[in-house]
């Protein structure tokens, strides 16, 4: 069984599968190896949660399958989706795109931000000193950067800002303070 199938199974069991659940379940039920892996994953999950009984019959799967076969088919109406999801491409990609977008704003507005850029140049003359820096507010520019990048890029940029902000909090209150900035530093290789 491929790694992709294993990940698909894992996300199905976690309730985190992004695709068509019915089709994915059909794929599982048509493949004996995937059925066995499905059962094994559930067994592992029950074990980790301490939900296993003291003894388990190895005939349980057969019994359940027989019961299901003998049950009448229920023609239930399809579940109505209350939220029309439009999943992000993926946070890794979103974050990297966001960083690119962030810098695109600056590059695209260099002409309009000449006075601000000079101030930065002064500030960057001696970066080892404690300096005061300010982000040039895009909406104050003659040409709004929102017109220069797509709505999707702006949305991704917003998500990236949330990630950075969350990481700031995360890095102080948790024993794994390394994780947040490791994420930031390694985003580049996914660009």
């Amino acid at each position: 069984m491929s790694e992709h199938n294993k990940q698909q199974l894992s996300s199905l069991i976690d309730g985190e599968y992004e695709g068509n659940n019915h089709k994915a379940l059909d794929n599982v039920m048509n493949n004996q190896e995937m059925i066995a892996t499905w059962a094994r994953y559930h067994l592992i999950g029950d074990c980790l949660r301490g939900h296993l009984p003291k003894t388990i019959s190895n005939q349980v799967f057969t019994h359940v399958t027989n019961v299901l076969i003998s049950e009448p088919t229920v023609l239930a109406p399809q579940k109505i989706k209350t939220i029309n999801l439009k999943p992000f491409v993926g946070f890794a990609i979103a974050a990297s795109v966001a960083i690119v977008a962030l810098f695109t704003i600056q590059d695209s507005n260099k002409a309009n931000l000449s006075s601000t850029t000079k101030a930065f140049a002064t500030n960057t003359a001696n970066p080892s000193e404690n300096q005061t820096f300010s982000f040039p507010n895009p909406q104050l520019s003659p040409e709004s950067p929102r017109k220069l990048i797509s709505p999707k890029e702006i949305a991704n940029q917003r998500l990236n800002n949330y990630l950075m902000n969350h990481n700031q909090y995360r890095s102080t209150g948790n024993m794994n303070g390394i994780f947040p900035y490791a994420r930031l530093v390694t985003i580049e290789s996914q660009e």
Binding site: S10, D14, E16, Y41, G45, L48, R49, I83, L85, K86, F88, G90, F91, A92, I99, L102, F103, Q106, T117, F120, N123, T124, P127, N130, F133, S134, F135, N137, P138, Q139, K152, I154, A155, N156, Q157, R158, L159, Y162, L163, M164, N165, H166, Y169, S171, T172, G173, N174, M175, N176, G177, F179, Y181, A182, R183, L184, V185, T186, E188, S189, Q190
Partner: protein, 325 residues
């Protein structure tokens, strides 16, 4: 608990006493985690670790200095672009040499012990089980292995490898409920040092001509038209709101409402941003390693939950957010 913490704290600084406490603590995972938290901010160290997320593997170097209770840290990417993150008590600077840019954020590193420790371990113990899982050897150092398993499906588990001598974290894995590793760090080399030269904490990136980005201060921002206060009406048991603030964001003129919920180990941020009549609204789920996000849009506001918890948790929390004033 206070006297125990004091004992541990003193033990780390008074080497002679350390061995006595260590001998008693070696079989208590909660005590070891307390010791690890203290060691991570109180010791000087220089190490190289591997960071794995999905199929991606990167190598980074970390240099940490403790000086009079303050922490200073430098993180350097050894693979790909030579990005760096330099932190002190006031500021975090992220250097992106390939973009000739530096992002400056406010540092939230605090004084030793008072802010860095996780929530009291006895509170966390209600929602996670702790167990010693054996011994191992990481980066040439002998380590204890600790499993931290969540009691429900709303949080992730951890497996930690802690150096028996220094109590520093040598390896950490974030795991979902099936035991699948979502993120991992592992030291390949780690040295605990008496002294760290300040020169090692300065960025090697020459930021000449770089563009510096910093979040605007609150004073420079427009105040929100709405005085609405927000809260999540559903949170997993054991979670509580640890902070509520308005955060300046690079993409927003109006400070974004930020709610922080934590069970002492896992943390979820909820951002509420007014996005009336804007075309850049995205809703739905996304994930990046151990982080899941979920965004919904309601009555002109985008609500986004971000946290190192399963997707189901951020979804339920985001869906439950409502104004209460």
């Amino acid at each position: 608990m206070k006297s125990q913490s004091l004992c541990l704290f003193l033990a780390l600084f008074l080497g002679g006493i350390q061995n006595i406490c260590a001998a008693e603590s070696s079989s208590e995972p909660q005590v070891l985690i307390d010791e690890m938290s203290i060691a991570s901010v109180s010791l000087n160290y220089d190490g190289v670790f591997v960071y794995t997320i999905g199929n991606q593997i990167d190598t980074l170097r970390i240099i940490h200095k403790s000086d009079d209770g303050d922490s200073y840290q430098r993180l350097i990417s050894l693979t790909g672009h030579a990005r760096e993150v330099v932190r002190n008590k006031d500021q975090v600077r992220c250097y992106f040499p390939e973009k000739k840019s530096v992002i400056v954020e406010k540092s939230r590193l605090g004084k030793l012990v008072s802010t860095y420790l996780p929530q009291p371990i006895e509170l966390i113990s209600d929602f996670y089980t702790f167990e010693m899982a054996g011994e191992d050897r990481i980066a040439g150092l002998d380590a204890w292995i600790i499993n931290i398993k969540p009691i429900d499906r709303y949080r992730y588990g951890y497996q930690l490898w802690i150096d028996k001598e220094s109590k520093l974290l040598l390896k950490s894995e974030l795991k979902n409920k099936l035991g699948v590793t979502l993120e991992k760090i592992m030291f390949a080399q780690l040295s605990v040092l008496d002294h760290i030269d300040d020169a090692l904490l300065k960025p090697s990136t020459v930021a000449e001509g770089f563009t510096w980005y910093k979040n605007a201060t609150n004073e420079a921002l427009e105040t929100s038209v709405s005085d609405k206060k927000w809260r999540a009406n559903w949170i997993p048991s054991g979670f509580s709101m640890s902070e509520q603030s308005k955060e300046p964001m690079l993409t927003s003129r109006i400070p974004v409402e930020h709610l922080v919920y934590s069970d002492g180990l896992a943390m979820v941020s909820i951002y509420v941003e007014k996005l009336d009549k804007q075309p850049d609204i995205v809703v739905g789920a996304s994930n990046f390693g151990g982080i899941n996000t979920y965004a919904v849009y309601t009555s002109g506001y985008q609500i986004t939950a971000v946290g190192e918890v399963p997707k189901i948790t951020v979804k339920l929390m985001a869906d439950s957010v409502e104004p209460y004033q």
